[in-house]
């Protein structure tokens, strides 16, 4: 309750400031916690690309994979394409976006893919999920359901927005969505700022709902901004990625990979980051900022922008990849030297011990020039055991397959 009172006080504070003309405005939310030493830093989010890239324009030869793996451009023309959801038949893949406001449908016709836009003009419709013949689309301020879309490609959606009770703040509230083994829809609600006491209790949490929006439950709190989760193939527990806060320098606090071993855990935001770093702004003077905080399985690198996670369960890749987590790191902006821009594997025991991070797909970034050309975002597994990786920057999907290397 103390938390809540404090948040209300800050709100009242900013309102009175807004009325008193000659006093300075309070710091904007996104740069709250930005120290004087970084006040004039010119770091800013990387620009996205809103125009199409042809498959032939992708510098595939720059990509590096372990021996025996092959990469191809599997689909192109999906500007801003991020998370992918398979239809029940597996023949269609739905792909969400942010700025361009579209959801795509990719149809696999064997040797080639066709792409169409299912819906556009939405406010960052990054959340896509499929269950029981229906496609679910979640934008920052809207939830749509397309029943029987595989057979009725132009059927009108059902507007489900009211049922899901979406909060008003928009920052960090674009979605990643997935149905769990329990058939419930899992939906994250990010902290609406870089670092702050959230204005109300509806933020910085993971919820699940029945598919129709009833039965809302908060299953974990203290989550700043998760953009990817998957269920462990052995334990059925959720593992989720989470973005660390900005403006504390090049080295951290690092992004996280977390495990939800039971409902009700608190993952630290806004007081405690990474493996137990008290927040210098929000937790100032708080002695036990990391008390009762569930620490990550592993940190994932400074400002790495960890996105999609997929535990490998196919039978195409060599045995050592069974049950290993593939994680896409979209790459940093709040860091002078670029970091991430790759897909890594994380091998750990089922209870999250002995994590080992190994680069898997690299070459999107040129460390010497401190530049990048692609941003891997999400990973999905095809029936044949090959992996799809979406590149949000170029709007293409790569397919990674394995064939025993020739001697």
């Amino acid at each position: 309750m103390i938390k809540f009172a404090f948040a209300t006080a800050t709100l009242a504070f900013s309102v009175s400031f807004a009325l008193a003309q000659d006093k300075p405005a309070p710091p904007p939310m996104w740069q709250q916690g930005r120290p004087a030493s970084l006040a004039d830093s010119k770091l800013a989010p990387n620009p996205g690309k809103m125009t199409e890239t042809q498959a032939s324009e992708v510098p595939l030869d720059k990509l590096k994979l372990p021996k025996g793996f092959k990469v191809e451009v599997w689909a192109a023309g999906l500007v801003g394409g991020r998370a992918m959801a398979f239809s029940d038949s597996g023949k269609k893949i739905y792909v969400g976006t942010r700025g361009i406001g579209r959801v795509y449908e990719v149809t696999d016709a064997g040797d080639k893919r066709t792409v169409r836009v299912v819906v556009d003009k939405l406010n960052q419709p990054s959340g896509v999920a499929f269950q029981g013949g229906s496609l679910y689309v979640m934008a920052i301020d809207k939830v749509l359901r397309y029943d029987g879309i595989e057979d009725k490609p132009s059927g009108a959606p059902v507007d489900m927005t009211k049922a899901f009770d979406l909060p008003p703040e928009q920052h960090h509230n674009w979605k990643y969505l997935a149905f769990g083994p329990d058939k419930k829809l899992y939906v994250p609600f990010g902290g609406p700022c870089n670092i702050c006491e959230p204005p109300t209790k509806e933020y910085a949490q993971l919820r699940r709902y029945n598919p129709d929006g009833t039965g809302k439950e908060v299953i974990a709190t203290g989550i700043r901004n998760t953009q990817g989760f998957d269920w462990h193939p052995k334990t059925g527990e959720i593992w989720f990625t989470d973005h660390g806060r900005d403006w504390l320098g090049d080295n951290g606090p690092e992004d996280e990979l977390n495990r939800i071993s039971k409902p009700g855990l608190f993952f630290g935001f806004p007081y405690c980051h990474a493996k137990g770093i008290p927040d210098p702004d929000v937790a100032k003077g708080k002695k036990d900022a990391c008390k009762d905080v569930t620490l990550p399985v592993t940190t994932m690198g400074p400002h790495a922008a960890v996105m999609g996670i997929k535990f490998y369960t196919g039978d195409m890749f060599p045995k050592e990849y069974q049950g290993v987590a593939f994680i896409a790191r979209k790459g940093s902006w709040n860091r002078t030297k670029k970091f991430g821009y790759d897909v890594v594997t994380v091998k750990a025991t089922a209870d999250g011990k002995n994590p080992k991070i190994t680069p898997f797909m690299t070459g999107f970034m040129d460390p010497k020039a401190n530049s990048f050309w692609g941003r891997p975002a999400y990973i999905s597994q095809l029936k044949d055991g090959s992996l799809l990786v979406s590149d949000e920057q170029l709007g293409v999907i790569y397919r990674i397959s394995y064939g025993a290397p020739k001697k």
Binding site: Q21, P45, G101
Partner: protein, 148 residues
Amino acid sequence: MTAGIPSIAAQPKIFTENYLVMTREGIRGNDAMQGLLKSVPDREIVALAVYFSKLTARKPDGAVDKTLFARGKQVAAQNRCATCHERDFRGREQMPRLAGQREDFLAEAMLAYRQYRRPGGDTLMAAALYGISEPDLKALAHYLSRVK
């Protein structure tokens, strides 16, 4: 030029690309513009963006209200607008030129961000205006439209 329509001369290429795509998609701007861009393919949008980025910037608006200008300058400095938009507000990459832009357009754009009526861009821009009063937004628009 008509009120509410921005000058896009000397805008960074990526910003104009994004702006034209968002307008074509009906996410931004007005119906007239959307109609014009309706069947313009991406490659032509890229070419247009390159062309506009090479034009000379519009001359700053006329009469300066000294008090308003000073206040705008102060608010821009306090909120570090220049870290993204560049010290002379000429913009870079996806961040637009603000210097010399039409005052009415700037004022409306900022209000629209604040009221979440300007989707498509990064939510950071709306967050950058968090807590700035409406009179201060007007001062910012006055200052930015006349800054040299």
